[in-house]
């Protein structure tokens, strides 16, 4: 079909794009570039005063043990949480994939935790994991699983576990729904002919299901990790990054440096390293999981 590209067509197409370009460019792109510039200054929240200081912010960051702690926390918490999310989410998707009575209801109910805003997730789990009057400790002690109440939010290790639990609770539905959609896209005939040829369930899973889902798994788990990187409210409410800095992740670190300490320049530098890290991680990650044949369209 011949498409005539008239000059007026080009004008119209650009005109239609302008509002979106203006918004995205003005609110997302330009500030990001500006943040990059700010990271080379000593800009402060008070009076917005600051001057160019070259790489000083960056060298200070890389020498800071706090930065390293935050880096490790972010990586550990996000990868562990997403790994668990994936295992459970994939399992759920496989389990629900057959049509049975009440399937829509079950699926609908399982998505509920994802809808809950992060603030509420944080507050809710803070309440449930309260050491003295939280319901979780009550069940744990009453059922005899533990002998004393666990100080979920006051212990360096348990606070990380608490954060991971909250993230798993709220983020698994995303993986589950995406996997379900992917499973339904696998052609029936292939599975049927494989079963007729004598393939067992695990073989089908390994040689048919997984390859088909590979790029979907890559994208959804990556997005899942990114969402945790971005997430602020859950940890802010649950532990505020504590105890000490045990659950401090990048988003909190940048926020506190910028708006509590007022050091906008330093905070920008942290944020820039965070972004570069994320981009590099994504490229490597997708390559690894999706394989070289699959490229992002």
């Amino acid at each position: 079909m011949l498409k005539k590209h008239r000059l007026s067509d080009t004008w119209v197409s650009v005109l239609l794009l302008l509002p979106s370009l203006a918004i995205i460019g003005g609110v997302l792109l330009y500030p990001l570039i500006d943040a990059f510039r700010i990271s080379f200054t000593s800009l402060n929240l008070i009076g917005f005063k600051g001057k160019l200081v070259g790489f000083r912010n960056y060298t200070a960051i890389f020498q800071s043990t706090l930065y390293q702690t935050v880096l490790i926390n972010t990586l550990v918490i996000s990868t562990v949480a997403v790994a668990i999310r994936f295992i459970i989410g994939m399992g759920l998707a496989l389990a629900i994939n057959r049509t049975f009575k009440g399937k829509t209801i079950v699926r609908g109910l399982l998505i509920l935790p994802w809808l809950i805003p992060s603030v509420v997730v944080g507050i809710l789990w803070m309440w449930m994991l309260d050491t003295d009057i939280g319901i979780v400790n009550y069940f744990l002690v009453a059922s005899g699983l533990v002998s004393i109440k666990i100080p979920w939010l006051a212990d360096t290790i348990f606070s990380k576990v608490a954060v991971i639990i909250a993230f798993v609770w709220t983020g698994t539905p995303f993986i589950m729904v995406v996997m379900l959609a992917g499973l339904q896209a696998i052609p029936h005939e292939i599975v049927e002919s494989a079963t007729t040829d004598g393939a067992g369930r695990f073989a089908i899973f390994r040689f048919i299901t997984l390859p088909y889902l590979r790029s979907l798994i890559a994208i959804s788990t990556l997005l899942s990790i990114v969402y945790i990187f971005q997430n602020f409210a859950v940890i802010y409410m649950l532990t505020k990054g504590g105890p000490g800095y045990a659950t401090e992740i990048f988003s909190l670190f940048v926020y506190e440096m910028a708006f509590n300490s007022g050091r906008l320049g330093r905070a920008s530098a942290i944020g820039v390293t965070w972004m570069i890290l994320l981009l590099a991680f994504s490229i490597v990650y997708v390559r690894l999981i999706a394989g070289r044949e699959q490229t992002l369209r």
């Binding site: 794009l17 509002p19 979106s20 809710l124 009550y138 905070a267 992002l296």
Partner: protein, 296 residues
């Protein structure tokens, strides 16, 4: 195409799961799903249960799973002492609606353009969507705070609307473009031959057809805005413009451990619009959720 072997279905073959194991697998699946459903839903139930108690009762040991003396005191307080929460609620609605309008207005135009005039630009935009998800919001907040301060956009609805709209726009663009793609261009060509102006084509023919697309994008943008916390926290300071997400957090921050029932009540208020949207527009919510990942 597959060559048919003579299969004796009664004899167990290599790799074939025996009938016993088949049941075992189904049973394990059933148990695991049930266990997870409890894990998934109990916190929500507990939130409701706590909200229906009085603040004092929440301290009872052993805790009552179902409140013995249910009380709506918390809800009544929302109308009197905790009225600020309602102000936050209203702000969230205004900001959410604003973000939706922004996304739809810009997104419909751009989605149409990207769909009908494919160019290198469209591939770039698609790529950009994925990358934009990785923009650290905390980092963006820094320069934006400076700009908003100078433009007097701090603590206004407009400021937050702009930001929420911008965050939701990439995916809305993607969704809308996808929906436009499903409408064959022949429809427009036919209308053009019949003498319709381009504008008429857009409004009379295409808009109605992408109704579902509009709803999906609108629902998505609204959900994003309602749930957003960090930027709303940074750019607002009082109940003049502060939406519910940060409002809820800051309001109870000082005395949260003494007013658990009230906090839970306010939390329920926070999630109620989302639940309503979910109950009535479930498939739009899910398709928005999946759209980002599957189409990528």
């Amino acid at each position: 195409m597959a060559y048919q072997r003579e299969i004796d279905t009664k004899k167990p073959r290599q790799g074939m799961v025996e009938y016993k194991d088949f049941d075992m697998l189904k049973l394990t699946a059933l148990i695991l799903v049930s266990v997870y459903m409890v894990f998934s839903l109990f916190p929500i139930f507990w939130m409701l249960s706590t909200a229906l108690k009085t603040n004092v009762d929440t301290y009872k040991m052993p805790p009552e799973l179902v409140p013995v003396k249910p009380s709506l005191a918390g809800f009544r307080k929302l109308l009197s002492a905790d009225r600020t929460i309602f102000r936050f609620f209203l702000n969230s609605i205004i900001i959410g609606a604003g973000a939706v309008l922004l996304c739809l207005a810009a997104g419909l135009l751009a989605g149409y353009s990207l769909s009908r005039f494919p160019s290198r630009m469209s591939k770039f935009v698609m790529m950009f969507f994925l990358v934009s998800q990785m923009f650290p919001l905390a980092l963006l907040a820094i320069p934006l705070y400076v700009y908003f301060y100078r433009l007097h956009l701090l603590n206004t609805h407009l400021g937050v609307i702009l930001v929420h709209g911008a965050i939701a726009l990439p995916l809305c663009l993607w969704l809308l473009k996808g929906f436009f793609d499903t409408i064959p261009i022949e429809l427009e060509d036919a209308a053009k031959i019949d003498g319709c102006s381009r504008w008429k084509i857009l409004t009379r023919i295409i808009m109605p057809l992408i109704g579902p697309g509009i709803i999906t994008a609108a629902v998505y943008a609204f959900l994003i805005s309602w749930r957003e916390f960090l930027l709303a926290l940074v750019f607002t300071s009082t109940e003049i413009s502060r939406p519910l997400s940060p409002g809820l957090a800051v309001y109870y921050l000082g005395f949260v451990s003494l007013r658990w029932s009230d906090v839970m009540t306010a939390s329920i208020l926070t999630i109620s619009p989302l639940l309503i949207i979910y109950i009535f527009l479930q498939r739009y919510v899910i398709s928005g959720l999946v759209g980002g990942a599957v189409k990528g």
